[in-house]
C-alpha cells in the first residue's frame, strides 16, 4: 500500500481558502420559487476564523451545506483553494449541531473513521487517533461509546474526528447550540484556545452574537430571508482571547452594533405588520436604556 500517504503523528494543519461567490439558492418549482439565499459572497482566508450570524431561517446553514457539498446552489459557486466544490469530501471537516458521532463505534473508532475510509491500516489509524485524543485530553475515554459521554465531550470528540483527516477547512454549524450555557462557555474557550494554537481556516455558523465576537476574526451578518450579506465586521479584539474580554468596552460596543443589525432583521423576519405596529411601541418602552441594561 505505498500509494497511501503516511498518517502524521500529530495533526497536520492545512489552511485552505474558501470562497463563496454570488451564491443564490431557490426552493420550489420555477415560477413560484422562493429565494432562500440571494447573491451571497464571502471569504475565509487561510488561517482565518470567520463567523456568519443572522436571524433564524436566513440561510446561514444553507451556506455551510454548500461549502460542505451537501447541496448545490441555484446560482454561483463555492470554491476551496480555487477548485469548485461539488460533493462532500474529507478535505472539509464538518462539526454538526446535533451529535453526529456513530453510536456503534467507540470514541477512538469514531476518530479513526475518516482515516479508515482513506485506506490507512489499523496500526496507523490507531496511533493517529490516540495522539489526537491525547492532545484533546480525551485519551482515557477512547474505549467509551458516545452514549456514555456528556454533551460537551461528544462535541469535543466530534471536533477531533473532523480534524483527524487534516481538512483544509473546519466547518462548524452551530456546534454548541445543543449544549447548556455553562458547558457552552467552556467549549467556546476550548475552541478559541485550539484555534490560537493551530490557526485553522474555520467557517462558523451561529445565532449567538457574543459567541461570534468572542471566537472570530471576522463576522458576517446576514439579512432575513432571502438571506444577503448585510455587513462584514472585523473583530479587533487581541489574541489570545480570554473570558475577561467579554466585559471590555470594545466587546460591548461590538455586541451593541451587531445586536442592532440583527434586531432589524429579526423584526423583518417576524413579518411586516407585527414589526410595524406591535413592536414599535415596545421599542419605545425599552429603547436604548433597555439595550444598555441588557449589555
Amino acid at each position: 500500500m505505498s500509494a497511501v500517504p503516511e498518517v502524521p503523528a500529530a495533526p497536520e494543519v492545512r489552511r485552505g481558502h474558501v470562497e463563496i461567490r454570488d451564491v443564490s439558492v431557490r426552493f420550489g418549482k420555477k415560477g413560484q420559487a422562493t429565494e432562500a439565499v440571494s447573491r451571497v459572497s464571502l471569504e475565509v482566508k487561510p488561517g482565518d476564523f470567520v463567523s456568519v450570524i443572522g436571524p433564524s431561517g436566513c440561510g446561514k446553514s444553507t451556506l455551510l451545506n454548500i461549502v460542505a457539498g451537501f447541496m448545490k446552489p441555484s446560482d454561483g459557486a463555492a470554491w476551496l483553494d480555487g477548485q469548485a466544490i461539488g460533493s462532500p469530501g474529507a478535505d472539509r471537516g464538518v462539526v454538526f449541531q446535533q451529535y453526529s458521532l456513530f453510536p456503534w463505534m467507540t470514541v477512538r473508532k469514531n476518530v479513526e473513521f475518516g482515516l479508515k475510509m482513506q485506506g490507512h491500516g489499523q496500526n496507523a489509524r490507531e496511533s493517529a487517533a490516540r495522539t489526537l485524543l491525547g492532545l484533546a485530553g480525551l485519551l482515557q475515554f477512547e474505549n467509551h461509546y458516545p452514549d456514555q459521554l456528556s454533551g460537551g465531550m461528544k462535541q469535543r470528540v466530534g471536533i477531533v474526528r473532523a480534524l483527524a483527516t487534516s481538512p483544509q477547512v473546519l466547518l462548524m454549524d452551530e456546534p454548541f447550540g445543543a449544549l447548556d450555557s455553562q458547558t457552552r462557555t467552556v467549549m467556546q474557550e476550548i475552541l478559541t484556545n485550539m484555534w490560537q494554537q493551530l490557526q485553522l481556516s474555520v467557517l462558523f455558523i451561529t445565532h449567538d452574537i457574543e459567541e461570534a465576537i468572542f471566537l472570530s476574526e471576522k463576522v458576517y451578518v446576514m439579512t432575513a430571508r432571502p438571506g444577503r450579506i448585510k455587513a462584514e465586521i472585523p473583530i479587533p479584539l487581541p489574541r489570545p482571547r480570554t473570558p475577561e474580554m467579554m466585559s471590555s468596552p470594545t466587546f460591548h460596543a461590538l455586541v451593541r452594533q451587531l445586536k442592532s443589525l440583527i434586531r432589524e432583521e429579526s423584526l423583518a423576519a417576524m413579518g411586516g405588520e407585527l414589526g410595524a405596529s406591535g413592536l414599535q411601541g415596545l421599542d419605545g418602552h425599552i429603547g436604548s436604556a433597555g439595550i444598555k441594561a441588557l449589555t
Binding site: 502524521p8 503523528a9 500529530a10 495533526p11 497536520e12 494543519v13 460542505a68 457539498g69 451537501f70 460533493s87 462532500p88 469530501g89 474529507a90 472539509r92 471537516g93 464538518v94 454538526f96 446535533q98 453526529s100 456513530f102 453510536p103 456503534w104 473513521f113 475518516g114 479508515k116 475510509m117 482513506q118 495522539t131 489526537l132 492532545l135 484533546a136 485530553g137 475515554f141 461509546y145 458516545p146 452514549d147 456514555q148 459521554l149 456528556s150 460537551g152 465531550m153 469535543r156 477531533v160 474526528r161 473532523a162 483527516t165 455553562q182 458547558t183 462557555t185 467552556v186 474557550e189 476550548i190 484556545n193 485550539m194 494554537q197 493551530l198 480570554t242 473570558p243 475577561e244 466585559s247
Partner: protein, 322 residues
C-alpha cells in the same frame, strides 16, 4: 507542518471574573464525569471469598423475586394441568383424553430409547436454519437496497408488498409443485415465513438511520459502498435484529404447518403422526419440544444481538414500569 505536541484543547484559563465560584477548569472536570461509573477494581486474592458471598447475596436480592415469580408461574400451569387431567375435568372444555404431566414424562424416557425422536428434532432444526439463513441474507440485502435507493424501492417493493399478505402456509401446494423434492419445499415455506418480517424491519431500519450520520460519513470521505457497510448497516442493525426475532417466530409457525401437511420427519410431523396414531402423550411432548426449540432459537438471536451491538446497553431506553 506539524504542531508541537502541546495539548490541543488547553485547559481553559482558571481566572474567570464573571464566575466567582469554582474555576472553569472544574467545569470541564464536572462535565467530564461519566454517567457510567468505572468498574470496581478487581478484589485482592484474600478478599475473594467474602466478595463472592456478597455478590451472590446481591444477585439473589436483585434477581430472586423475578426467579421466584417465574417459578410460581410455571408451577401454576403444571399444577392446573395435573389436576385437570388427573380428575378428568369436563365442563364444556374436556380434559378426559388429555395426558397427564407424568404420562408425558414417561414418554420422554421412551422416545429417547431409540433415535427416531432425535432425528425428527434434527430434521426440523436443519430446515429452520437453512430457511432462516437464506431469509436473513435475502431479507437484509434487499431491505438495504429498498430502504436506501428509490429505484430498487420502485421496482421491487410493489411486487413484494403484493405477495406479503399471503401466509406462508398458503404457499404449501405451490411450493410442492415448484421444487424438485419435499425437503426443499419445506425449507422454502420456512424461508417465506421468515423473509417478510426481516425485509420490512430492515427497510424501516434503513430509512430511520439519522441523516446527520450519513452526512458525517460523507464528509469524512466515505464512498457509497463504505457508507452502506459502515453507517447504514450498523445504523439499521437494532431494527434488523427485531426483524430477525419476529422472523424466527414466524419461521417456526410456517415450518410446523408445512411439516404437518406435507412432511416426512420433523417435529411437526411427529406431533401430527401421534394424533393419527392416537398416541396422546406424544402430542403434548411434540408441543413442548416445539416450544422449547422456539425459545432456544429466539434466545440465540437475542444473544447474538447483544454480542454484536454492545453499544445498545448504554443507549437511553424507555423502561417498563417496575
Amino acid at each position: 507542518m506539524s504542531t508541537a505536541p502541546r495539548r490541543l484543547f488547553e485547559e481553559v484559563s482558571p481566572a474567570h471574573p464573571p464566575d466567582p465560584g469554582p474555576p472553569a477548569i472544574a467545569l470541564v472536570r464536572l462535565e467530564d464525569t461519566l454517567r457510567q461509573p468505572a468498574a470496581p477494581t478487581p478484589p485482592a486474592a484474600a478478599t475473594v471469598r467474602p466478595r463472592f458471598a456478597e455478590r451472590a447475596a446481591d444477585a439473589l436480592r436483585e434477581h430472586g423475586p423475578c426467579v421466584f415469580m417465574g417459578a410460581c408461574s410455571l408451577f401454576g400451569v403444571l399444577l392446573f394441568w395435573h389436576l385437570a387431567t388427573t380428575y378428568r375435568w369436563d365442563f364444556y372444555i374436556r380434559f378426559n383424553n388429555i395426558p397427564t404431566p407424568l404420562d408425558v414424562l414417561d414418554k420422554v424416557m421412551q422416545v429417547n430409547a431409540n433415535g427416531k425422536f432425535i432425528t425428527n428434532v434434527g430434521m426440523s432444526l436443519r430446515r429452520i436454519f437453512l430457511g432462516f439463513a437464506v431469509a436473513t441474507v435475502a431479507g437484509v440485502a434487499m431491505g438495504l437496497a429498498i430502504g436506501r435507493y428509490r429505484i430498487t424501492r420502485g421496482l421491487l417493493f410493489p411486487a413484494l408488498e403484493a405477495m406479503r399478505p399471503i401466509p406462508a402456509i398458503a404457499w404449501v401446494p405451490i411450493s410442492i409443485m415448484l421444487w424438485p423434492d419435499n425437503e426443499v419445499s419445506i425449507v422454502f415455506i420456512t424461508f417465506i415465513g421468515a423473509f417478510f418480517p426481516i425485509l420490512l424491519n430492515t427497510v424501516s431500519g434503513v430509512q430511520a438511520v439519522d441523516g446527520v450520520l450519513l452526512r458525517a460519513g460523507q464528509c469524512l470521505g466515505a464512498k457509497e459502498s463504505q457508507l452502506m457497510w459502515h453507517v447504514v448497516l450498523p445504523g439499521a442493525a437494532p431494527q434488523i435484529f427485531t426483524g430477525l426475532a419476529v422472523g424466527m417466530g414466524v419461521a417456526w409457525v410456517s415450518l410446523i404447518a408445512a411439516e404437518m401437511i406435507s412432511g416426512q420427519f420433523g417435529i411437526g410431523y411427529f406431533t401430527w403422526e401421534a394424533y393419527s396414531l392416537i398416541s396422546y402423550p406424544e402430542i403434548v411432548l411434540g408441543m413442548i419440544t416445539i416450544g422449547l426449540l422456539g425459545l432456544a432459537c429466539s434466545g440465540l438471536i437475542r444473544f447474538a444481538g447483544r454480542a454484536l451491538m454492545p453499544w445498545l446497553s448504554f443507549a437511553a431506553r424507555s423502561g417498563a414500569a417496575r
